[in-house]
């Protein structure tokens, strides 16, 4: 029985978190300003009032402290979900995430689990000041022991946050903050899907476009424009950054022969680079053109007035599509 409701991603996440809190008394939320304020993006709105201060904790303002104590709580049998206020403020917690959270199961020779979720609002398009528009996912994808995912729609956000909380491994949950507000249909009865699965969101035959998070709306827009010009484009939502679900990607590339990857993060040593290398290795004889990456420039994220130049848009994606088709 599906229960379709139209809502923005922020509300879908709120509904997913509420369900997780209601279903399992061991689930806790921790973060800065997540209590009465409901988080700076209102993702946790109303949850402290409903579940109490012990389960929805406004923590001291210290990211290492949030992650480090979440680790201790996980050792004590809890399932903490930490909110990092903005992408660029995750670095004070980087050491606890990469040296502790990611490695503790391994350090314990597998005798413990680390069911901790780190929620990270990330990415540009919101015209904010420095440290509020970054896409740091590659740092975490590079670290063994972590899983990383990023939904692009309210519906995926709803079930993926619940699956992330159900995971016994630590999950970095990247929320495309520019997509918090647009509404989409959410099936509130959705559950039990595999967390690490990519998905074909638009079928096509000539070029495959692949991305995650806020990039999806850009890719779909590009596909629409291309269709009007007579080019058939397939669009895939990566959804899982680590591990990567390659089967749908390889199947698509074997069909289209062309792959264009788009991401907001800088391209150098990035998720896109990794996928480009792997697809080249696994589908070499199916490729009609080199895999082309469209990415943020390898500069710091620029001041807001320049962000539209920095962030890949439909034109830059279509330019890459043209280059791929020219081979």
């Amino acid at each position: 029985m599906s229960e379709l409701q139209s809502m923005p991603m922020a509300k879908a996440l709120n509904a997913g978190l509420r369900k997780a809190l209601a279903d399992d008394p061991k689930v806790l939320l921790m973060g800065e300003d997540i209590g009465p304020l409901g988080g700076v993006f209102r993702v946790t709105e109303g949850l402290q009032a409903e579940f109490g201060k012990q389960r929805v904790m406004d923590t001291p303002l210290a990211e290492s402290g949030i992650v480090g104590t979440a680790i201790g709580l996980a050792l004590a049998g809890y399932r903490p979900v930490c909110e990092i206020q903005f992408d660029g403020f995750i670095y004070p917690g980087f050491d606890q995430i990469t040296s502790q959270l990611a490695k503790l199961t391994n350090r314990h020779d597998g005798t413990i689990t680390m069911p901790v979720v780190i929620r990270v609002p990330y990415g540009g398009h919101i015209g904010a000041v420095e440290h509020h528009q970054e896409s740091p996912e590659a740092y975490f994808a590079h670290t063994a022991g972590l899983r990383s995912v990023s939904p692009s729609t309210p519906h995926d956000a709803y079930w993926m946050i619940q699956e992330a909380i159900a995971s016994n491994d630590p999950v970095m949950f990247f929320e495309p903050k520019s997509r918090y507000w647009p509404k989409g249909d959410v099936d509130l009865s959705e559950s039990g899907r595999p967390l690490h699965s990519s998905r074909v969101v638009r079928e096509g035959t000539e070029v495959t476009l692949l991305g995650h998070g806020a990039m999806l709306s850009v890719l779909l827009q590009a596909a629409e424009i291309a269709a009007a010009e007579g080019t058939s484009i397939e669009v895939i939502d990566l959804r899982s950054i680590s591990p990567i679900d390659y089967d749908p990607i390889l199947a698509s590339v074997r069909k289209t022969g062309r792959l264009v990857l788009a991401q907001e993060a800088p391209g150098f040593v990035s998720v896109g680079s990794e996928i480009a290398a792997t697809v080249t290795e696994k589908a070499f004889y199916s490729l009609e053109a080199p895999v082309i990456r469209v990415a943020g420039f390898d500069t710091p994220f620029p001041p807001a007035k320049l962000e539209t130049v920095y962030l890949p848009d439909a034109d830059r994606v279509l330019d890459a599509v043209d280059r791929a088709l020219a081979y």
Binding site: L28, Q54, T59, P60, A62, S64, G65, V67, G68, T69, A70, I71, G72, L73, A74, L75, A76, G77, Y78, P92, D95, Q96, S99, Q100, K103, T105, N106, R107, H108, D109, G110, T111, I112, T113, M114, A144, G145, R147, S167, N168, D169, P243
Partner: protein, 374 residues
């Protein structure tokens, strides 16, 4: 660098009970100890020192990549170690071999880690909640604080049932006090009033850097700025180490919030087997602290109470046996299977781990096949 007016002490360096206004509240906790418990303090200090010396030798002989000596810090460790109850959780740094032993960790499991066979070595649940060593300075202070927050959420403080009340004790060094994580742990502990004791072993040095570089005020004053009571004890006096920790843990378990203990002690050995302390500290300083040796001091106390020489001879014999047993079992240790590298990175199946494990197996098998073909 040595004791101050604030330093609490129950045993003088000569091994006599100190009766002062400051120590008065701790004496009754000592008077409750049985002869057998007091003997056990001595036994663990001596046996752990023998293990430490043997491990140092094993390292020199190439049997371990690194050794981290505990010599000189036995009283701080043994006293506080016996003050925790079995249901309490202990978060060590990496030098707490005596406490590991008290909580049931096999000395050889410590060797396994430093020999390069595992990054951990034991399952804390099987070792009376003695957690594995943490090598990143100060990180464990936050894990301990989070664990203590969990105990609080479980409602396991001040229950009226002493078997159910639980607390956490976390160990760290003077160098660690400069880490942000330790300050953040103090902030969280104060904010949530966690059932937790911060036990600082101030052994005067962080590798080659003296404690004066970490702090210009005595470190036991640091927690007061966070709203946590702190005391300074003579860390080479096993009795005050026991009594002060016992009191602090009882208070933590009964819901009175976190406590902080600075134990003044000294690292008699090198920082690790890779270190050369002659480059940064003087012979006079070393001799000063050797004269304050925790084992000699406590042995004098026991003799003063009438303990016979036979007991001391038995303990020395046990220490020698333990050392040779550790040596024998160290030499018997094998190498872990290669699959271990992939098996425990995640708790749930992961495609990269499965692929790479398979790739390695095929790669290695390819050599066997080549060999067979020739």
């Amino acid at each position: 660098m040595s004791y101050t007016e604030a330093t609490l002490q129950l045993l003088s360096p000569e091994g006599r009970l100190v009766e002062s206004d400051a120590s008065a509240e701790y004496l009754p906790l000592i008077q409750q100890l049985t002869d057998q418990q007091l003997r056990e303090f001595h036994r663990v200090m001596v046996v752990t020192r023998a293990f430490d010396v043997e491990a140092t030798n094993l390292q020199r002989q190439g049997q371990m990549g690194l050794w981290v000596p505990s010599m000189g810090q036995e009283a701080a460790q043994v006293g506080s170690g016996f003050a925790a109850r079995p249901q309490d959780h202990v978060f060590p740094a990496y030098r707490e071999h005596a406490i590991a032993h008290i909580r049931g960790v096999d000395y050889v499991d410590i060797v396994r880690m430093l020999r390069g066979l595992t990054h951990g070595g034991w399952d804390p649940r099987e070792k009376n909640n003695f957690h594995i060593y943490t090598l990143v300075i100060g990180s464990q202070s936050l894990h301990a604080t989070g664990y203590a927050m969990g105990i609080q959420l479980d409602g396991d403080t001040n229950t009226g049932d002493p078997e159910r009340d639980r607390a956490v004790i976390v160990y760290f060094g003077d160098g660690a006090t400069s880490q942000g994580d330790v300050s953040e742990a103090l902030v969280f502990a104060a904010s949530y009033q966690t059932p937790e004791v911060f036990f600082l072993q101030n052994n005067q040095w962080a590798i080659s850097v003296p404690v004066s570089t970490q702090s210009r005020t005595p470190l036991y004053l640091r927690p007061s700025g966070f709203g946590i009571p702190g005391i300074q004890i003579d860390g080479n006096d096993v009795l005050i180490s026991y009594a002060a920790t016992r009191k602090a843990m009882d208070e933590a378990r009964s819901g009175q919030g976190p406590r902080f203990i600075e134990a003044l002690t000294y690292r008699i050995g090198a920082h690790t087997s890779s270190d050369d302390p002659t480059k940064y500290r003087t012979q006079e300083e070393l001799e000063h602290w050797m004269a304050l040796d925790p084992i000699t001091r406590f042995a004098s106390y026991l003799r003063g109470r009438g303990e016979g020489e036979e007991f001391f001879r038995d303990v020395d014999a046990e220490a020698a046996d333990t050392a040779s047993d550790v040596r024998r079992r160290t030499l018997e240790l094998g190498i872990p299977p290669v699959e271990n590298m992939f098996d425990n990175v995640y708790s749930e199946p992961h495609p990269l781990m499965q692929q790479q494990k398979q790739w390695l197996a095929d790669y290695e098998a390819s050599f066997d096949a080549e060999g067979a073909a020739e």
